[in-house]
């Protein structure tokens, strides 16, 4: 089952937002992870995860079946899944867990999958790349530090963990056995420090980005209000950049700043980078390779500091 993991070869599930909005997350993940001995093999034919808020709150049957289909694709490759997005993690990890432990649900889902000649077997595991990076079993902080050629020295970087990777922690081995603290975790800060940057704590760090759970789609002003509060707290700490491990959170902080400017008239100009992008930079990838010019908020001030 986790043998695929032991081989350090994973089926790479991209999701929707990363390839469409932040393609650098994809290239950085593949290249940086390769340097760390982990091969990410594209999971061909994958669909939307599907988004936990949008689908999970409306039709659970569709939610289970779509996620199960993605899982089956990886099962056919005989590889565990690695992914780069908290939302995808929530959907795919959780459906995998549920299907493994609930026979009735598994039978019902397989009934649907039959129509496309598929069967969910429960033979693989699902990991977030951040988990692979932090967990010594796969990579670990030391290996990351050793891989750095362009340390991000002097940069003050705050971390946004995002909700769906951390909670609910009840059944998740990574959260319970590796992260340990899910209310005020600091393992991402360790990763940031490994790149040579200075991790910065800020008020209400674990607050939601504002986008998740369908809030961004349903009530954008409300969503931005939450984002704005986080940005206020970040500004207080004078950080050079915010890093995240979820393209959706990234979208909310990055594009969200432009929307906040339009709607509330407040400007922050805080660069927001996925940790994969940061890691790529620290391993010597160029900002162009990472597609940083595609970000809504310019990364220039931050890049000037670290390059």
């Amino acid at each position: 089952m986790s043998e695929a993991g032991a081989n350090h070869k994973f089926a790479f599930y991209l999701g929707c937002i990363a390839p469409n909005r932040y393609p650098g997350v994809e290239s950085a993940s593949i290249k940086a992870m390769k340097k760390l001995g982990v091969e990410l093999v594209p999971l061909k034919g994958a669909s939307c995860c599907p988004a936990p808020g949008a689908f999970g709150s409306i039709d659970l049957n569709v939610f289970y079946a779509m996620a199960a289909r993605n899982l089956v694709l990886a099962e056919q490759m005989k590889m565990d899944i690695a992914l780069v997005c908290n939302g995808c993690y929530k959907s795919i990890w959780e459906v995998n867990h549920k299907l493994k432990h609930n026979k009735d649900l598994r039978d019902a889902v397989n009934e649907v999958l039959k129509e496309v000649d598929m069967e969910y077997k429960g033979t693989i595991n699902v990991y977030h790349t951040a988990e692979l990076l932090y967990n010594d079993k796969f990579i670990g902080v030391d290996k990351i530090r050793d891989s750095v050629t362009n340390p991000l020295t002097g940069a003050r970087i705050a971390v946004h963990y995002g909700c769906h990777l951390v909670k609910p922690h009840k059944d998740r081995e990574f959260e319970k056995e590796v992260m340990l603290n899910t209310e005020c975790p600091t393992w991402m800060e360790e990763l940031v420090a490994a790149l040579g940057a200075t991790p910065v704590e800020y008020r209400n760090k674990m607050q939601c980005c504002g986008a998740g759970g369908g809030v961004r789609g349903y009530d954008i002003v409300h969503a931005l209000d939450i984002t704005n509060e986080k940005l206020i707290n970040l500004k207080e700490e004078k950080v050079d950049a915010l890093t995240d491990i979820c393209p959706f959170c990234q979208l909310q902080f990055d594009r969200g700043q432009i929307e906040i400017q339009e709607k509330f008239g407040v400007t922050y100009n805080l660069p927001v980078l996925h940790f994969a992008e940061l890691l790529g930079l620290a391993q010597g990838m160029s900002p162009q390779d990472l597609g940083l010019d595609l970000h809504g908020i310019s990364c220039e001030p931050f890049l000037q500091k670290v390059l």
């Binding site: 609910p168 009840k170 899910t182 209310e183 005020c184 008020r203 209400n204 674990m206």
Partner: protein
């Protein structure tokens, strides 16, 4: 089921062969029984011949079968008439009857009347479980003039009608099978006589909180010598850490200290502090307990005298403490006050004898000098001592610990200085505590003006981190805390964040109203998160006000977490020594939650106080008095009857290999020389009848009373082959 049916119908052809195979075994055993029985020496010798002759029951066995409806519990799920009809044709059955409630007085009368009228030799009741009503029906069997062990139960309720509620045919068939099996055994039952053993006129109480102290005082007052074992250096338990007590608000120390003094003074109580139960052997009436008295480094006047130091020993002057250079946190003050390596918990301790914490002591010897040449109380080389005592009954009163609430990370205990636990609050508000009774913020020593109380902190928690149960006294003590700050700090407002206020006791709801009237604020909502303002160290309490339906972010100066409680650390080891079970949450398991809350399933071992489950002081004391009363009954009776289910050795067959001796978990077996041969011998009082040895013996030399090989073989036959015709 279908398969089994086939087996039953097929039985006739194969039957003869099988009965041939089985019959000789039965005969052989029958022959042996007279030989074996004298060794199983019944307590009443006069009865022995009867027991022997009665073993020849099977041939002329006349069994009565009594089927219970249990209202509709059984009758609602099976066809009682069909069960009755089928039972009539079971071999040896001489009489069948059914009744609505077999355990009622009229039901029991049906049984003993039938025994006499139909000259029955054995009784089968098809009803609930032996656990519930075996004693009832044994008594009814006895009333009918038979030996009470001529009774066998068929469980057709708990393991049948209740589980197969909607399968009438299946449960009817299963009931018939169960009765066949029970009749097969009943036809081979022998008269047995319980053995009486004398009960040691002494008791042991483990844990000297208010529960253990009360139980000991009651036992002592009933004239019973009581060994009270306390792990800590002084007695009193958690109650001695409390300031005031709800709902009457009397000072905890004021009501507890007299009891502590009484315990220390009572001639019938032998107090062992800084001690634990090391080893337990034996059974009700005769527990041999080894107490480990931990090296204390300081001698009592008595101990000093025994060493020839007349007029010496610790008098509690504290000169050693003043001199000792090693400083450690005082855990009685929840670490908020320092103590030395040589210490007492607080000034009112009983016994007033200092203790050296040898994990911190650097053996500099300064205290020895400070203590002086007269007292010479300190012995830096003292060692653990092991003391053996014999007691008739035991009460466990090991109390509770506070759940490590830092595990609920969202509330920031140990991360934010001004988040404290309720137990810390008790010490801070207590005049004898580390701040002389002034509630102050740990961060800056300032008096708080807004204090939030988080109730159900770690209790009623199904996230897997906390405890699923209600800790039962935190609502009430938080109300008390609210009152205390209103009374002590003018203008200070307590905010209680709660799920429900459970004020269920006598005068408790009235207390709740009183605190409301005094101005405490109540917010119904489980606290989601607490955040610290880095600059002021004030705290933001975030929740959803579920009555006003709106989110709350309240800034306060201090937060008090009403932490859940859990069984004390050493409870698990201690309970195992006494063979006591615990429930899933770790609290010790009572024999019956309603009708025997102080008893356990180990005869002679009882429970008092919070170790059985969270209780406030009134309930703790009530349970302690209940346990003391229950524990004194066998002692006052002077003897207890042991179930006569012990193993016995069929000496002609015993090869003296001794393998069973090592197998017995209760050390009931030994090898002895008899007529020039080595044979096994059973100490009947120690044997629990578990059958380990009987099942193992390669030569079949062990006879398990009431669970004999012929009985069990007959039961299996009855099920698989329909039994003999």
């Amino acid at each position: 089921m279908a398969e089994k049916k086939k087996a039953t119908t097929k039985k006739t052809p194969s039957k003869k062969e099988d009965s041939k195979k089985v019959a000789p075994v039965k005969q052989e055993v029958k022959k042996q029984v007279p030989a074996a029985t004298p060794k199983a020496a019944p307590a009443k010798p006069a009865a022995a011949p009867a027991a022997v002759s009665s073993t020849t029951q099977q041939g002329d066995a006349r069994i009565g079968v009594f089927i219970c409806h249990c209202g509709t519990n059984i009758a609602g799920s099976m066809d009682i008439d069909a069960v009755q009809e089928s039972s009539k044709s079971i071999p040896h059955v001489a009489y069948v009857d059914n009744y609505k409630y077999m355990c009622s007085m009229p039901g029991q009368t049906v049984i003993h009347k039938a025994i006499k009228d139909h000259k029955l030799t054995g009784v089968v009741v098809a009803a609930c479980t032996p656990r519930l009503h075996e004693p009832t029906f044994r008594a009814a069997t006895k009333d009918g003039g038979l030996n009470p062990f001529r009774f066998e139960m068929a469980n057709i309720r708990d393991q049948n009608s209740w589980v197969h509620m909607h399968d009438r045919v299946g449960s009817t068939d299963k009931a018939i099978d169960a009765i066949k099996i029970a009749v097969a055994k009943a036809a081979l039952l022998q008269d047995l006589y319980p053995k009486s053993v004398p009960v040691e006129k002494a008791a042991m109480v483990v844990g000297a909180g208010v529960a253990g102290m009360q139980a000991s005082l009651d036992l002592a007052a009933a004239g019973i010598k009581t060994y009270l074992i306390e792990a800590d250096t002084s007695i009193g338990g958690r109650m001695s850490q409390l300031d005031k007590t709800f709902p009457t608000l009397d000072c905890s120390q004021c009501i507890l200290t007299p009891k502590m003094v009484d315990v220390g003074r009572d001639e019938n109580i032998e107090l062992y502090t800084y001690s634990e139960v090391h080893e337990v052997e034996g059974y009700i009436g005769n527990f041999d307990v080894t107490i480990r008295k931990k090296a204390r480094g300081v001698m009592t006047p008595k101990e000093a005298e025994a060493k020839g130091i007349v007029g010496g020993g610790c008098n509690g002057c504290g000169d050693c403490e003043t001199a000792c250079p090693v400083v450690k946190p005082n855990m009685f003050e929840v670490g908020m006050k320092p103590r030395k390596a040589i210490y007492i918990n607080h000034p009112q301790v009983v016994p007033l004898i200092y203790t050296i914490d040898f994990d911190s002591c650097v053996k500099c010897g300064i205290c020895v000098t400070a203590c002086g040449p007269e007292k010479r109380a300190i012995d830096l080389e003292s060692k653990d001592e092991f003391i053996k005592v014999k007691v008739g009954t035991v009460i466990l009163a090991t109390g509770y610990d506070i759940f490590p609430i830092e595990k609920k990370e969202e509330w920031g205990y140990k991360r934010f200085e001004n988040v404290i636990t309720s137990l810390e609050f008790e010490r801070l508000i207590c005049a004898s505590g580390p701040t002389g009774g002034h509630l102050v913020r740990p961060s800056d020593g300032q008096t708080p003006k807004r204090v939030a109380f988080v109730l159900c902190a770690g209790s009623r928690d199904n996230t897997g981190t906390g405890k699923p149960y209600c800790s039962r006294f935190c609502c009430m003590y938080s109300l008390k805390h609210a009152h205390q700050i209103i009374e002590k700090i003018p203008g200070c407002v307590p905010y209680l964040f709660y799920m429900d206020i459970r004020s269920f006791g006598k005068m408790y709801e009235e207390f709740y109203y009183r605190i409301q009237d005094e101005g405490a604020k109540f917010i119904r909502g489980r606290v989601a998160n607490i955040m610290e303002d880095k600059a002021t160290k004030n705290l933001h309490v975030m929740t959803d006000d579920t009555l006003l339906d709106r989110p709350i972010d309240m800034e306060v100066d201090m937060v008090v977490l009403a932490s859940a409680v859990q069984p004390s650390a050493d409870t698990n080891r201690t309970r195992k020594l006494f063979g006591v079970s615990c429930s899933m949450d770790g609290w010790l398991l009572e024999a019956h939650p309603k009708l025997n809350p102080c008893g356990t399933t180990t005869a002679g071992v009882f429970l008092a106080g919070v170790c059985q489950g969270p209780k406030d002081i009134p309930d703790t004391v009530a349970s302690a008095e209940g346990a003391a009363s229950a524990a004194s009954i066998p002692i006052h009776k002077g003897e207890v009857e042991l179930e006569p289910y012990f193993a016995s050795c069929i000496e002609e067959k015993c090869a003296g290999c001794g393998m069973c001796v090592n197998l017995c978990p209760y050390s009931a077996l030994s090898l002895v020389e008899k007529d020039g041969r080595t044979v096994m011998q059973v100490t009947e009082a120690k044997c629990k009848g578990c059958g380990t040895c009987g099942g193992f013996c390669p030569g079949g030399a062990i006879w398990m009373n009431h669970f004999t090989t012929p009985q069990i073989v007959a039961q299996i036959d009855a099920f698989l082959l329909g039994g003999e015709q």
